[in-house]
Symmetry: D2
Subunit: 344 residues, 4 copies
């Protein structure tokens, strides 16, 4: 199956590139880049030294008529500008941007500061988080890949909500991301000397992933989520850790909560629930499409503590996009995602 990537030279795009190059069922035929058009991928990213592709002009025309699947690794607003046309051409669109994640166009406008340009597509877009909503993916034509924070956050709370062990609608999510989450463009915050040896919260309570997490919480059955979401920047390249805090029934034990999670994710190929009270490190999942989950209950405060580690560029973005494409197109869900990545 022919595939193409629009916006392939950013971090999400190049990660998609390496994944699709190694995928048994996709043939990556075109990659575009606004900044690097005309350059060889191997010259821009020497780690892909053996790749012969050249970045094409950053235009859907460059994707070639034969690309049946198009991955969009462009900023928000750019995706909704091109998706209608690509869909009209009969292609499957897997969008890594934020443009089709929120079902409510007004909510989009409120948080992204611009009207939605393709609201008619929102109803048909499928939110691509297979572990929670796998059934909606087969046959999907437009897939909205979740943000990295929502992916880890929703995986962290879903089993507790499903089991109805929470006793309030308050959810505190304290998240920690590596610097690659800020993208490839140089910036003051991404400067090595600013990011190294430092940790800080940013956009406390006002990060754009907040309404997306809240939408997911509602979908999972929480009537009126009172969500507090605070992301932090941590001095590492890859990795995203979410620690979620939920009020639960007094008396719920760590072992009981752990059993809920272990059972919920038992059949998931990409999720590992650690032994009770053992917390995951982002180092364990680096370079992979995996999510590792740790569960503990602080009985004194009747608080469920769930920590989920993912690689923000793989399970948090590009790996999940491939996983969703696999499911949408009837391929093996794990195809191309069995990544033997470095242990240390």
């Amino acid at each position: 199956m022919k595939a193409a990537i629009l916006g392939a030279a950013g971090y999400a795009g190049v990660e998609l590139t390496r994944l699709l190059l190694g995928h048994p069922d996709f043939d990556l035929v075109a990659v575009t880049s606004e900044r690097d058009a005309g350059k060889r991928v191997a010259d821009v990213y020497p780690a892909l030294a053996t790749c012969d592709l050249v970045y094409q002009e950053h235009d859907t025309a460059a994707l070639g008529p034969e690309s049946q699947v198009v991955f969009l690794a462009v900023p928000h607003t750019a995706a909704m500008a091109v998706a209608p046309g690509l869909l009209a051409e009969g292609r499957v669109v897997v969008d890594a941007s934020a443009d089709f994640r929120l079902r409510d166009a007004d909510l989009y406008a409120a948080w992204y500061g611009t009207p939605h340009r393709a609201p008619a597509l929102l109803d048909g877009a499928v939110y691509g988080l297979p572990e929670l909503w796998r059934a909606s993916l087969p046959g999907a034509r437009l897939i909205a890949c979740p943000g990295c924070y929502p992916t880890a956050s929703l995986l962290a709370v879903a089993p507790a909500l499903e089991a109805e062990v929470t006793v309030s609608d308050r959810v505190v999510i304290d998240a920690k991301s590596g610097v690659s989450g800020a993208g490839r463009s140089p910036s003051a915050a991404a400067h090595f000397c600013a990011a190294a040896e430092a940790v800080a919260a940013y956009k406390a309570g006002v990060h754009r992933h907040t309404p997306e997490i809240a939408q997911g919480l509602a979908d999972l059955g929480m009537a009126h989520p009172r969500l507090t979401f605070v992301p932090h920047l941590v001095p590492m390249t890859r990795g995203l850790l979410v620690t979620a805090y939920l009020e639960v029934e007094p008396g719920l034990s760590t072992d009981e909560a752990h059993a809920l999670y272990a059972s919920h994710y038992a059949a998931e190929p990409f999720v590992t629930v650690h032994p009770a009270a053992r917390m995951p490190s982002t180092g364990e999942v680096r370079g992979t499409n995996r999510a590792h989950v740790g569960v503990a209950v602080d009985e004194a405060s009747a608080t469920l503590i769930v920590s989920v580690a993912i690689d923000n560029l793989v399970k948090g973005t590009s790996g999940q996009a491939v996983q969703c494409a696999n499911l949408a197109l009837g391929l093996t869900e794990t195809a191309g995602l069995d990544l033997p990545c470095p242990v240390v």
Copy 2:
């Protein structure tokens, strides 16, 4: 004034060493070390190349009769073994360990797994967090320096509790520490290859600083704190960030909350409250005795978010010990702590 350090070759001890070497009022006359006795400080720590001190045998006898102030930078249990003798000799004891922080000997036994050996001293020990309990320090003979996590945590919540803007006793504290918090002894967790490029929670809900924070919350007026405390390890050497989450009255705005904090800490020489909603980075306080504070309210969930950044080895340990000693002995509070440390 003559000073000595018992246990001066660990991270807290060597940090005390550099601070006392530069202090205008203290004359550091003896440093001891179990591991490095007989070695020059300059050989163990080449950064102190100009220091002529030699580590003495790790025994109170090595402190010399002239040391009027003794800093204990030893593990818990070791401090309570020597403190009574040192006090009996008429010395002022500044203890950086956990031995005299909890006023309840049973609580100590429960969390530290060993009976308290000097319970009679607990009542007279002064908890050394000057910004919150400065008045108790002048004349103190035994100072229990707070743990690094409690220091940042209590600074984060005190103004809100004093102003009585919280509406529940639930407190979530999500903390992030640099690796030096684990001490100088090599360990699997402190191995560069384990700590770099990774972040993880540890001891979720069961860290020994939990009861100390809870005791502080009660002292600040929270009747029955329901505290959830989860520390995380972050790939940096120094620095500690606490992000605290408190339920507040609906309608409290970021500006109102910020005003409370700015006012509360206006006169503090070591505390800076950032403009409303601007969050501090540990990189700003590295190597200093400062605490930088950021305040925001997530109005949708009526949650106060306070982030406090300190250097775990300075304001979190050794700098605070010096600050307390200054106050106990009637010196200028900031003496020896005006550290012109690197900006980047």
Copy 3:
């Protein structure tokens, strides 16, 4: 083909584990560990969460009679203790230690401070650096995998020596290694707080890889090498960079030197020679079996500068061991080594 690893819980061993688990032709049937015997690999290394193997007792008996290939990832001296027996049992032995690299038992004794216990095997041992001595590998029964520094160093100088463009026997090799090169055991040097934000030379002129590099230089035709080798420790987990300095004929240009290298390595599946004067970063080869090469000539001083980047745990150890095993056993040289590793 059945394979086993003796000493599989150190960094080289676990890297071999992940490579062999993903190898199409090897079936990893046994892994041993002195420290972790009885534990699941997945528990010791959560990154290998999907691996069902359990560390066996650290004894050759645990390798099972069916293991036709045994990889030794044990410290020097331990390898020569077991190799004779394994060979006598008809197995192929791929040794990642230093025990069979030096052909001169006296030289071994001089540098390693202990007599060689299996000198009779030295003549038959094959030095496993395929890019330089590929012809010796097919059918080899005992393969001595080069050290990480010699691998990069010899790749850096071989084309120049073959082309006879050097004018003296002086070779300066300044090498930079990530911390994983020091192994998994906690140590003062590997402590995060010692290694981070610091770079230093160590064992200047006296590192044990020196005679191995010199032996290789002689094999490449340099009659009496005057080698100066200085390794440095750099704050990163993986990666090894060698910058080699060779005196060359006045007038040799960067383009000429580059052409020699490009030609020499044109057919190598794991080597990329960058465009003239473009230097490689270890970040490009992280997690892979690749060597990236940069070539420049400083014409004013008639000095050839060659920089080679490898991943010390892959091309520097375990990947190369697999590459050698592939060649020794008649498999495809690149089998199991086509690693789609993270670009950033």
Copy 4:
């Protein structure tokens, strides 16, 4: 004495700011910035939270008539544009740029790609490396502060050249710098994700510090230096390590070479020569104006190996500028530079 900084918001400038704020003899009255004019220093750099200065317009007029000493922390070409005017106004100019380091205007034009605009000042400019040319500093009006690489490089070779133990004019200098050496402006190379977990050479043989090092070698008595200089970028914020390789008389021992260095630097307040064969780490000098020196001889190749560690922003730039200003103005050489910086 009133002082001002032109270009105070870059890394060199802000480092000068913190040093001058703590200096007993200088009163910092004005700081300018092109990018940050109008902002408080404390807002741009929260680490300087207690600083009340505001960045002025980036113009010499903003320095105020009372500034007797002006530090230039501007890019090359900008310094030579303003120095003549400042000198004509009777001020002492301490220039941290490259504009007055090379005495030969043609050499400047060749390496910097632009003609020198103030060649008449070159003869009178004093090269500010006190440990080697202290006598020229008292009374100096225009001080050219050495580059960071030349500082460490010349300190590494001077004692050997003075003692005439070298036997050739070949000098190989392999240098390793932290990322702050590239300045504060965001760039692809300084992006955390590019710089972390990677080491690479850059500008091999063509770095602009090369002619400056060569000029210094000639000044130290090496008739026709054949210098090869290769800098590398290392994943740390601060620190610069030079490892220099010199051919010496056969038979020269490590102890003999060490004695030369120990003797040469015995009286230097900022230089420590480590015990023979013990190599310095940049971590030892972080945040300080110190240079730590390690000396070894590889007797087999008759090569002297000298490693020098400095902080690139202090002894490599701003600290040295203050040291030079102290000497030029008759102050205590170490005034304001006794920095009690963090040990770990």
